[in-house]
Symmetry: C2
Subunit: 201 residues, 2 copies
């Protein structure tokens, strides 16, 4: 009389604990910074204590690396999907906005860690994360370039970063507004901000 519905892989709940740890670490890193969080803290947050983490990760830095690698590849994947789906440049921009806004609203901790802690990732992984981040930005720049052909790329890049700053402000205004109200606000502000870059220079 065993429960067969939970389709267990060869090794039972394999991966749950791992995922749990990643989530807890993201929250803690976002709140106190990589060096402000101890292995003990992370373990404690998931109900195991300390060195248990080494059964799942080779070390603290590896944990961070996996976190950032995961975020940056998911972001890039979603961006590629948005860009390759058919539609006008305006449609594509809207799709990109949705990607970033959804991420910012649903995973504020990951977003925070993603743009603060790259410096603590050891070298092999760091390069790859940087590459993914760069590719993500370039998806945006490409679309913006279609909408504003007269705008030089450096300005487009700066504008893109400014927009990320705007959208990623969600951790700061946590609690001010419900997500359902935050989403249209961010979308409107970001759209307007982008539209404005044609009006200067």
């Amino acid at each position: 009389m065993r429960d067969v519905t939970t389709a267990r892989t060869p090794t039972r709940n394999r991966g749950n604990r791992r995922t749990e740890i990643l989530a807890a670490a993201a929250t803690l890193f976002a709140a106190r910074g990589f060096h402000g969080v101890s292995i003990e803290d992370i373990g404690g947050a998931v109900g195991v204590s300390g060195p248990a983490l080494y059964r799942h990760f080779s070390g603290k830095e590896a944990l961070l690396a996996e976190l950032l690698l995961d975020v940056s590849s998911r972001l890039r994947e979603s961006a590629v999907a948005a860009v390759t789906s058919p539609g006008s440049p305006e449609d594509t921009l809207d799709a990109l906005l949705n990607v970033q806004i959804t991420f910012a609203l649903e995973q504020p901790a990951l977003i925070t860690v993603h743009d603060r802690e790259l410096g603590n990732v050891p070298e092999p992984a760091r390069r790859q994360i940087r590459r993914l981040q760069r590719l993500y930005v370039e998806e945006w720049v490409t679309v913006l370039a279609e909408l504003h052909p007269a705008c030089p790329p450096p300005r487009l890049r700066a504008a893109t970063h400014a927009m990320f700053g705007l959208l990623n402000s969600t951790p700061h205004s946590a609690g001010e507004l419900r997500p359902e109200a935050m989403r249209p606000l961010l979308r409107a502000m970001a759209r307007a901000a982008i539209a404005s870059i044609a009006t200067i220079g």
Copy 2:
């Protein structure tokens, strides 16, 4: 035959070293986070080594506290000046934008530390910094409320934070654009973003 031109206070270069330390600490904290920087690092950055800092500050946390207290009071002071000077709400908004943009462009390290490290400031000072930050935000909200009377305050507050995010993106787009080009871009994007908040809801 002494040099009298350098108007020395009772104690020679008093305060130079102190200021130098604060500046170095800001840069390091911005780059690696409070816990990622050692007292030795900060000392090294100004050419003295380690425990010399205790001649100027009571400890690492006190150093951070002074940094944040200084930033938040300067921001608030400038905001008050902008708000109390005569002019239309639009003029006042422009003045506020100039305050924040100038700060973001000229002191990116301080801006970065200012919105990341509050959690590491010990309690007496933390409350005061929070208070100053809140007051700063309220200056913005008050002006925005005049421009958008129909907009509920929580939305104004969220929009204000989003705009700070936009303007404070300068550390991320460092090098993309020269400050002379960055300033009008940020101003245009921020103005447009703010104008857009009336168009929803």
